[in-house]
Symmetry: C2
Subunit: 337 residues, 2 copies
């Protein structure tokens, strides 16, 4: 991640390629109006000379890309809001794209970026496609990953949230209310955030001297339906929990519905805590106690990070986790009321 002083200038590259400096700039800026053969020659020279862009050498395009796998991600709109806000303040437009994990959509997005250029790409993903990453590098478009769910694997700055600490704070809240049998609905097993939230839950129980009962840990997929099924399983236990911590708000709302169908009330009969703080957490009945992920702030930090990369500045750390925060509403109450 460290920035290097450029050893060569745009003029050097232009002289070596036998083109004008503005043509090299156009290639650096990823613009489409350079003949393919010329572009390839210039890109090879840039690579061979280890050229790195630095501040002032390039005119900002005025566009930042924000790329989702799918726009039905529940926190998509919060992230868009944060990114748009920071980009707009910097005079930049925000291009929002969904690539649906499909090669054809990814290809089309990259072609669009190549023809219109971009100052940087913010990728919201837990599984960054190495080919996409390589092509962005070749286009000299700096990239940042916003990943509320996983852990970085590639050499790209990543912004996440403190999942383990969030899991701990939710569990401690329920323990302070006197709950001893606390169910946990986990997220998708292959994602690191699921493991981190589960470990936070376990740490909370063990710190309070409570044993971890495996029967109280039920798998989920982060979505409403899996939360509903997990809620039904927890209700059917011989000794059901008096509180449930679900690793996403949508699963928590599924637990609500499972409880309602059994005639159980939140929080009078069972307390429920979620994770995310989606807008619907405020509008559920009762309003949901949850662990807030600061999605808008994560989006703003992503914009600032990409801008620093664009200017060739160093960034603080390849992985930054912003703090989660417990938001107490009406879905949790003292045990045994």
């Amino acid at each position: 991640m460290a920035s290097q002083r450029p050893a060569v200038t745009i003029s050097d590259i232009a002289a070596a390629a036998g083109v004008s400096a503005p043509t090299v700039s156009r290639v650096l800026n990823g613009r489409g109006d350079v003949a393919a053969a010329t572009r390839e020659r210039i890109e090879a020279l840039l690579r061979d000379h280890g050229y790195r862009r630095r501040g002032g050498q390039q005119a900002a395009i005025g566009l930042l890309d924000l790329v989702f796998n799918d726009l039905d991600s529940p926190w998509a709109v919060e992230l868009i809001r944060g990114v748009e806000d920071a980009a707009h303040a910097a005079g930049s437009g925000t291009v929002v794209s969904a690539i649906h994990r499909r090669a054809s959509s990814t290809r089309q997005w990259l072609d669009n970026v190549r023809s219109r250029a971009s100052d940087g790409a913010i990728l919201v993903t837990t599984d960054l496609d190495p080919a996409l990453h390589a092509e962005l590098r070749e286009l000299h478009v700096p990239a940042v990953v916003v990943d509320p769910a996983g852990v970085p694997s590639l050499d790209v700055p990543t912004i996440g949230a403190t999942n383990w600490a969030g899991g701990l704070s939710a569990t401690e809240h329920l323990i302070r209310l006197g709950h001893r049998r606390i169910g946990f609905v986990s997220g998708r097993a292959e994602l690191w955030c699921s493991r981190a939230r589960l470990d936070g839950y376990r740490a909370g129980l063990e710190t309070a001297g409570l044993s971890v009962d495996p029967a109280l840990i039920v798998p989920g997929e982060f979505d409403y339906e899996s939360g509903f099924r997990a809620g039904e399983r927890l209700c059917a236990l011989p000794e059901p929990p008096t509180a449930v911590f679900a690793a996403s708000d949508q699963m928590a709302l599924g637990v609500y519905e499972a409880l309602r169908r059994r005639g159980l009330r939140v929080p009078e009969d069972v307390s429920v805590v979620g994770f995310d703080d989606l807008p619907e957490a405020r509008w559920s009945s009762p309003p949901l106690t949850t662990v807030r992920q600061p999605m808008a702030e994560m989006g703003k930090l992503a914009v600032r990070t990409v801008q620093r990369l664009l200017r060739g500045e160093e960034i603080d750390s390849p992985r930054v986790e912003l703090a989660t925060e417990l938001v107490v509403r009406d879905s949790t109450a003292p045990a045994g009321r």
Copy 2:
């Protein structure tokens, strides 16, 4: 809205301005790399000759603009999804902006459009700023308004939904279930969609031979909090309703919470219907019966309309309303259970 055959060509304008045809194209495409004085001269000639762009004469920029007043609009993400999907399929990026009804933000967005160019603007608003509209016209950026709430006032194609028919279908559904005292929580009084939904409610009652009781019509502001207050008012009536139709999903969820606090259950004690079909309508407990506004489809139609304008084609109608649809879930039940 009718398309005119261009009386002059780009070459005519170029000759008159003493510039090359590509320079005229750059001005037509709204690009920033033309000197201000030259641009003004060319724009004046384009105006004076009544030049209108037509198909094939311009290279698409590969960018469409989608402009919101605020991104916390509850249906923002659905609209983004529809627009992005249709734009992406056409090889175009979607630039999402929020202008916050502030002149400075609008200015900044227009400056950004001016410097990077745009194939068209989809404006999500009920009160289109005439100055903004005029400037887009000057930039030759075709504009379409998506307006789920109001009625068009300016000479710009507008896409909405059938609010009156939606209000009628919700009310008829409750009447068929045997409800006779049906409360109505209205939306913001200054918006036409509020009036249309209210008129649909009245039409449903009157068609069924029921009288309209003014005490059952309570004002709201479309948001959760006003729905909660309206729910409390309806509960406090000497003869409270057995069903409530709220003119937005968020207000319906506020009604849920007012009922819950009184120990009343949905739908056993009171049936509730919303309007919008936001994602949270599916995840509420119980899942909400509501009138679906086809936001994603409205976004797709907006893209197709802007593309037709860009090609100089005629559009079908200056105002199109897409059909709303009643979605029956678990929040409505027969009266007097």
